[in-house]
Symmetry: C2
């Protein structure tokens, strides 16, 4: 902790601090000879520029904050990795903010932007409305959103195409002859759930399969929710041959219910989930699932946000709609 300062280097090299700064920042306006001398001194003194001084002077923290609902969810880990790797490669750092599923916390983290602790904030959380975020964005703060579409032209966003995601599932099932397909939704307040249901309905139409409201049941994205939803559904109807669950957790719940009810998968019932979590490969039969491009959602958005901060405000594309990929496994396919 010697704490050499730029002035120390300057004196030792017999130049001004400005010149040292120029050398440090790779300015072309420095004599080669001088540059070498300064570099030499920098090495000798083991000088490391103090980032706080730089930040204040440049009014840039070179840091992004990412707000997630719960750092424990593996869903976020991949997104964070995407953001982190991209940010680091562009010389930015990443602050992690765990909102602990509390709207209040999400709001509090916004202060990191306002008090200039970070240059931009990425929300991967559902609580804050477009309007709330817009008021900040319109004030000139840099905000990005992952997981849903936002219409404010200042807010870049990346999200999965849930309509085509649902279509892929329905067509995969329809191709195998299924006509009675049930859908288990997540929270009805979640955009993801709404969009998947919407896509499901659209796809049925496209596939020429009549929509039956009684084949749609509410879950809540949890295993237990899926279990309950399936049981309720099954108590009403027994004629459906396939279930599309809005995520894999609910598919696990369906598995549990089927085990209890003596329904064999995929012979009597075919199941497809979303997220392709690791567990889907460890139950028998393995669960077919739609894999979201999580890493990409993170890296694409981070890149765009950083790009935008560095002046390319006019760059055209602001919304990144990425496609999920169907991973077919035994739960939805006899002949695999």
């Amino acid at each position: 902790m010697k704490d050499i300062k730029i002035i120390d280097v300057a004196k030792q090299a017999d130049v001004s601090p400005a010149t040292v700064s120029r050398v440090l920042n790779g300015s072309k306006l420095v004599n080669v000879k001088t540059r070498q001398r300064v570099m030499q001194v920098i090495r000798e003194l083991e000088y490391i520029p103090n980032n706080m001084g730089k930040q204040l002077r440049c009014r840039k923290a070179m840091t992004l904050a990412v707000v997630v609902s719960d750092v424990l969810a593996s869903y976020y880990a991949e997104i964070i990795k995407g953001i982190e790797n991209m940010a680091n490669s562009l010389n930015y750092r990443v602050l992690i903010c765990d909102a602990q599923n509390q709207r209040q916390k999400e709001l509090e983290f916004l202060s990191l932007l306002i008090n200039h602790t970070v240059d931009a904030l990425i929300m991967v959380t559902p609580s804050l409305s477009d309007e709330e975020l817009s008021s900040y964005a319109d004030d000139g703060y840099h905000l990005g959103v992952i997981g849903r579409k936002v219409e404010n032209p200042r807010i870049p966003c990346s999200f999965t195409d849930n309509i085509s995601l649902a279509r892929d599932v329905v067509f995969h099932l329809a191709e195998q002859g299924h006509r009675k397909i049930a859908f288990l939704s997540g929270y009805m307040s979640a955009t993801d759930s709404i969009k998947r249901l919407e896509g499901f309905i659209k796809a049925l139409e496209e596939a020429g399969i009549p929509l039956e409201q009684s084949l749609i049941e509410n879950g809540d994205f949890s295993e237990i929710g899926g279990y309950g939803a399936f049981k309720r559904l099954r108590s009403q109807r027994q004629d459906f041959t396939a279930v599309f669950t809005a995520n894999d957790e609910m598919a696990l719940g369906v598995y549990k219910a089927c085990a209890e009810l003596g329904i064999s998968i995929p012979e009597q019932l075919v199941v497809v989930g979303v997220d392709n979590i690791r567990l889907t490969n460890y139950v028998v039969p393995r669960i077919s699932s739609m894999e979201q491009p999580l890493y990409m959602l993170g890296s694409v958005l981070a890149e765009k946000l950083i790009d935008q901060m560095n002046g390319n405000r006019l760059a055209d594309k602001r919304q990144f709609k990425l496609e999920a990929e169907l991973i077919v496994k035994e739960s939805s396919c006899m002949q695999i």
Copy 2:
């Protein structure tokens, strides 16, 4: 982005910036009347102190960096959560650094400390030696380590008691009459693996069970490694009745091998792993496992490190050895 500054507030309230600063920082040296007036102006102007200015002046970033080998590993997520929640509650922020399993990256992140981007660094990675870390700590930088014991008196550390962890497993097995217990290690370079093996050997002695070298086989903490290790072991000997794997991934490998070899668990072979990952509850039979206090490892260390930075350098306890907990499930217990 109005960017009100302290001087603006000062003028408006007809006081000096110093007084505004005092109000902001809750100094007692302010007349109640003045304080109210200043507060009023702060609210009116919606003044938010600029953190960069504060950081530079106070020479504190109020930020910790956490370096992990791979943000995707669920193992780290819990530790990060522990650090994050504790840090936030003490008004610190957390920077996440993904070393991507590269030693070089770990080294690079140390620069965050040196250039004063963060006040302290927590290493949850294995690559850097005690000596390497010590040289920084001795220079006055604040470093903490999670996952292994470090002897430098300036470096606080938190880790699981692997000796007692292994003992708990061995005694659990011995109590059920097992005398031929196999051990599958992780990487031989990993402290965790070494300590668990050491604990295993010690515990056998304590339990009065003769040690048999041929019942110890090398794995590498991966499922495939566990699979291979078990196959090798089994090709040599068939008389053991229990396997203790250094982590759950390897236990999954054992499951796979047993399925192929027609060995039934727990009737013919009992299995115990470490980490109690979610998957252990979804295979049949569920895998008994030692659960590490990951959240605590993170929060305890963060608390200590922050405490230490704030002057309590003399506080006695520097090493936090926490106990793992045995979660008994069907893989190691017939009568469950």
